[in-house]
Amino acid sequence: MADISISDDLIERIETRAEHTEFETADDYAEYVLTEVLASLDEDGVEGREPAVDDDGVEDRLQSLGYLNE
């Protein structure tokens, strides 16, 4: 895992926001933000999946396994 340097001021602001959350360190928080930003920038790739070829087939599979019931 590589290190990236950011300013003390930024770290302080992150720590304030992350207080009382499950983000244990400023590193965790920063990594999460970067993951979201990059995922949003790459959103075309994310959404570009073709739908299932056989919709009825998928629905039958899920129905038969009880996944459409409470």
């Binding site: 499950e22 993951t35 979201e36 995922a39 949003s40 920038l41 999946r49 599979r61 899920l62 396994l65």
Partner: protein
Amino acid sequence: MTGPGAERRNLVFVTVDSLRADHCGFVDPDSSLTPAIDRVAGDGLSFTQAIAAGPRTPSSVPVLFTGEFVTDDPEWSMADWRGRQQRIGRHMARFSHLSERLGAMGYETAGITANPWTTRESNFDAGFDRFFEISADSDDISSTQLSDSTLFKLADTGLDALPGDFLGWSDKKEWFSQWPGSFELVTEQLSDLSEPFFLWVFILDSHQPYITPRRFREEASAWRMYYSILRYWYGESSDEEIPAHAREMIGAAYRDAVRSVDAFVGELADAVAPYDPVTVFCSDHGEAVGDHGNFGHPQALYDENLRVPMFVHNAGVRGQVDEQVSLRSLPDMVTDLADPTGFDPAAYTDRAVLSKTENDRRRAVRTPSWKLVRDRETAAERLYHIQEDPDESEDVSASHDEVVESLSAVLDRHDRTRAEKASIRRVTDDLVAEDATV
């Protein structure tokens, strides 16, 4: 060996659908259903308090591949399977997969999955060099291989076109997904993959309705097995209570399905041995067999739904871990096992483990002694003393305010985290949308 994959161990990751912990002898010594699983677990590091992130595949497996819970969606509904599938797909694309992490470390990766939530449409193939969906409708495997069952063969050859398919077997070919049908594919991948490799195998054999090949059945004859299936299915669709004799038959059919899974683990252990991999084994969630009046895996957070068997084999460490571990920690654990030198299971244990149903409608926080379950819609909370009341039969929240307060704080902390993550997503989405209009 040279290149970025040098010094890395081969990794085999096995997930079994709906295998409850207490049916495995290494978790509950009263169970004699799993001699092969117990032998392999006993030769490695076994976990007796492994907890799934959710009680069903959609709430569990995306988390054990990414370490992140799936984000809430106000539009979510159980019947909208396309929306649920797309939501998982977005999650899997957004966060780094276990397979992507290992691919970046120089692994050649292959995935073989029989569960319909873990398909290309839900982006589960990301990071896999080779990916195989096991179902009668898949192009990745010939449906003639999937099952020896006569009923399956009839269904597969177009029983729906005949006037005699009153029970709709042709829509239920998934019920016949049995591991022997795809085992050759597993051995082919083992011999074809370049080392170091990561092979993920996800089998469905212990998923309801528990249709098990004859050679693994010890309790349920064919007619009892099919009767229990139909009785179960009728009960599901009619909300009618399942009578005692059918409950017993369903339990027997499930135990036979567990025996089949055990046979799979025995054969797999032999097949992988020449490649000397580290093997990680777990179930994706548990299964109710009449517990709390439930069958299958409903949206419930009792221990029968959440406790799963888990072990790590051939990592140079043996023993039994009785502390809690969440399957949410698996992406880190499996990645670390690429080089298991100094592997310390304590790094993954957790005194307070969080589990949630799909779309966060219910969540539970579990400690070694207590479990608090909160329903988001009704705000109702139930507290169980799981050490004194392992069947979770009595809500003791009214008499243990301090425990409720302490565990509520964990759930509140999770809520704050969810809110912060939602804000981060909203801001990044807005920024990218703004950028696109410039």
